[in-house]
């Protein structure tokens, strides 16, 4: 009789490295993706610049220099990106605009995460009439013309920054809810969900403990793609003059102003646009990297 017989059949696997979850596997794959890692670094730099930049910039965002209207970039006087048509420093304003755009993007995405995941998971898992009612609601909201909705809000409540955020959050969760519902529908048929039901786990606990964690892969990927969507949407609103209010600014506002004066003052368009473009690129690279890392089968 050898040693092997005394030990339960299964312990051979104990030799393998300890508990490696799907998340740590995904993290390992993500680290190997150079584009995604580089994008994360760049995005982190942009975020840090947006957070601390306006404080350490040589000029305040609302300081008006009448003698330097539409001045080109000049390192000597601290207007690194030049000034805009009201004689305010573009460097400080670009970084501050980044703060607003990123904050809006992240906040609206968080709202869409919370509402969308909850809504989709409940609709998909419970199914039947509940599903029908919940998803028709989503369809109706989809059908509302977005601009009409925003203008209506503005008319009733005035131009509040909070409103923009509410409006953006209110539309961005619709896609999320649909994605999560689809995931929940397919998860519902998996045997481990049946096993959980047979084990006596209640509906709420199944949604929280099984459905939501198993949806998270696609959800995270979609969230990284929602942030740029929201930033673009805000830019669009600002472009139409429905965005944030002066002296606050955002990338969208700056680009809108810059676009009008591109023939005489190129820097007013180029700098904010470069920041916005870099951010969007980074988020898309990160999203792609996450998708590959979380779902290696799809490659």
């Amino acid at each position: 009789m050898t040693e092997a017989h005394a030990v339960p059949a299964v312990e051979a696997a104990a030799l393998a490295p300890a508990g490696r979850g799907l998340w740590s596997d995904a993290w390992r794959r993500l680290r190997r993706n150079r584009a995604a890692i580089a994008a994360s670094v760049v995005l982190a730099l942009i975020a840090v610049a947006a957070i601390v930049g306006p404080e350490v910039a040589p000029h305040a965002i609302d300081a008006i220099y009448w003698d330097r209207v539409d001045a080109p970039p000049d390192f000597a006087n601290g207007h690194y990106f030049g000034t805009e048509s009201n004689g305010r420093d573009l460097f400080a304003r670009t970084l501050f605009g980044g703060r607003v755009s990123l904050a809006l993007g992240i906040a609206a995405t968080l709202v869409s995460l919370v509402i969308g995941v909850g809504w989709g998971a409940i609709a998909g898992f419970i199914g039947g009439r509940v599903d029908a009612i919940m998803m028709r609601t989503v369809d109706i909201l989809y059908a509302l013309p977005f601009m009409f909705f925003v203008i209506l809000l503005m008319v009733y409540f005035g131009r509040e920054p909070l409103l923009i955020f509410v409006a953006l959050g209110a539309v961005s969760w619709l896609d999320m809810a649909r994605i999560v519902r689809g995931q929940a529908l397919s998860l519902k048929r998996r045997e481990f969900i049946e096993a959980a039901r047979a084990a006596g786990t209640g509906t709420g606990a199944i949604i929280l403990r099984h459905i939501v964690p198993n949806c998270l892969g696609p959800v995270i990927v979609f969230a990284t793609l929602t942030v740029p969507q929201v930033i673009l949407l805000e830019s669009f609103l600002s472009f139409l003059g429905l965005g944030v209010r002066e002296p606050m600014t955002s990338w969208g506002v700056l680009i809108a102003d810059g676009a009008r004066r591109v023939e005489t003052a190129w820097w007013q368009l180029v700098f904010p646009s470069a920041f916005l473009a870099a951010t969007l690129f980074c988020l898309n690279f990160i999203g792609d990297g996450l998708r590959d890392a979380l779902d290696p089968k799809d490659r």
Partner: protein, 327 residues
């Protein structure tokens, strides 16, 4: 006499299928008029080919899918009268093991969390240490090292995953486990480990098993009684030894003959007259006796009259002509 652990009477499970141009709803009857009893500590094997409704039957017994008609009684109490929360409380005594061992485990949960899931559902206030001790104890019981508690399902082989599934089913020490093809996805050497484990657990804890499988060899080995299904109906139900030694229904006979025996001397001496045709679609079941289209001893009446399940001592058979073919 006290009520059996589980008594199923006239169980019928239909799935509505929307189809047809006019949105006419057709019904796929997966299980039709199935009745049986299961005593405490007994193993009832359920065999049949694809489409015979054996997996549906297992899920319907656990009320994981609703029955369209019939009665399922647990120790004499009709489960159909229970509301959702009372039914959930009942689940404490009835657990399930699935065919695909990996698919039955949530990939995002650790082994410890998976096995503890029924505990969380039924004893939510149990102290953590006590719960952990019980989980480790159960892992040991099914031949797994308790140190594996923090690992994830994908790190384990099929046989080990099936042990984890059995641990989850065993952690509440239930009275009934529905085993849905528990060894079909496993290799022969692992299959024997799992079959032996189930037999041992049954001996030690007096669990009743509803053992669903298409593998007649395994069913013969593990069951006390065997029920043969064909297109959702019971064609024969008998004690295992009697069923395999003297099968009565022509379908049972064909099924047993079709299983190859791993012994060339025996296998080559056996009569090989394979049953013709294949299982008809459950959407369009044949009239009368559903088996008449493939039956060697069928007569015209078989296409017309549905045979009743006749009881003869411990045996039941749904064929009025079985004596003719016994040969």
């Amino acid at each position: 006499m006290s009520a059996p652990l589980l008594a199923v009477e006239g169980l019928r499970v239909g799935f509505p299928l929307s189809g047809g141009l006019l949105g006419r709803v057709r019904t796929l009857v997966a299980v039709d008029d199935v009745s049986f009893e299961l005593a405490a500590g007994e193993t009832l094997g359920v065999v049949g080919e694809s489409g015979c409704g054996k997996s549906t039957l297992g899920r319907a017994v656990l009320r994981l899918i609703p029955a369209s008609a019939g009665r399922i009684a647990w120790l004499g109490q009709d489960l159909g009268t229970l509301d959702e929360s009372a039914m959930r409380a009942r689940r404490r005594d009835m657990q399930v093991i699935f065919q695909d061992p990996l698919a039955a485990l949530d990939p995002r949960m650790t082994v410890g969390d998976i096995v503890a899931e029924p505990l969380r559902a039924f004893q939510p206030d149990q102290p953590k240490a006590e719960r952990r001790a019980l989980v480790e104890d159960t892992l040991r019981l099914v031949g797994l090292a308790p140190e594996m508690i923090n690992r994830y399902p994908h790190e384990f082989s099929g046989g080990q995953c099936q042990r984890i599934g059995i641990a989850r089913a065993m952690v509440l020490r239930p009275k009934l486990i529905v085993c849905d093809e528990p060894v079909s996805a496993l290799d022969a050497s692992i299959q024997a480990q799992i079959v032996n484990l189930l037999r041992r657990l049954q001996r030690e804890f007096g669990i009743a098993l509803l053992f669903i499988s298409h593998n007649l060899s395994v069913v013969r080995h593990i069951s006390h009684r065997v029920m043969v299904l064909y297109l959702g109906r019971v064609v024969e139900l008998a004690p295992t030894a009697a069923l395999f030694a003297r099968p009565r229904h022509p379908y049972t006979r064909a099924l047993i003959v079709a299983v190859p025996v791993p012994d060339p001397v025996v296998e080559r001496a056996r009569a090989h007259v394979p049953l013709g045709g294949e299982v008809p679609s459950p959407l369009r079941p044949p009239s009368g006796c559903a088996f008449h289209t493939r039956c060697a001893i069928a007569r015209p009446a078989c296409a017309r009259d549905r045979p009743a399940l006749e009881t003869d001592g411990a045996r039941r058979v749904a064929c009025p002509h079985w004596r003719d073919g016994a040969g």
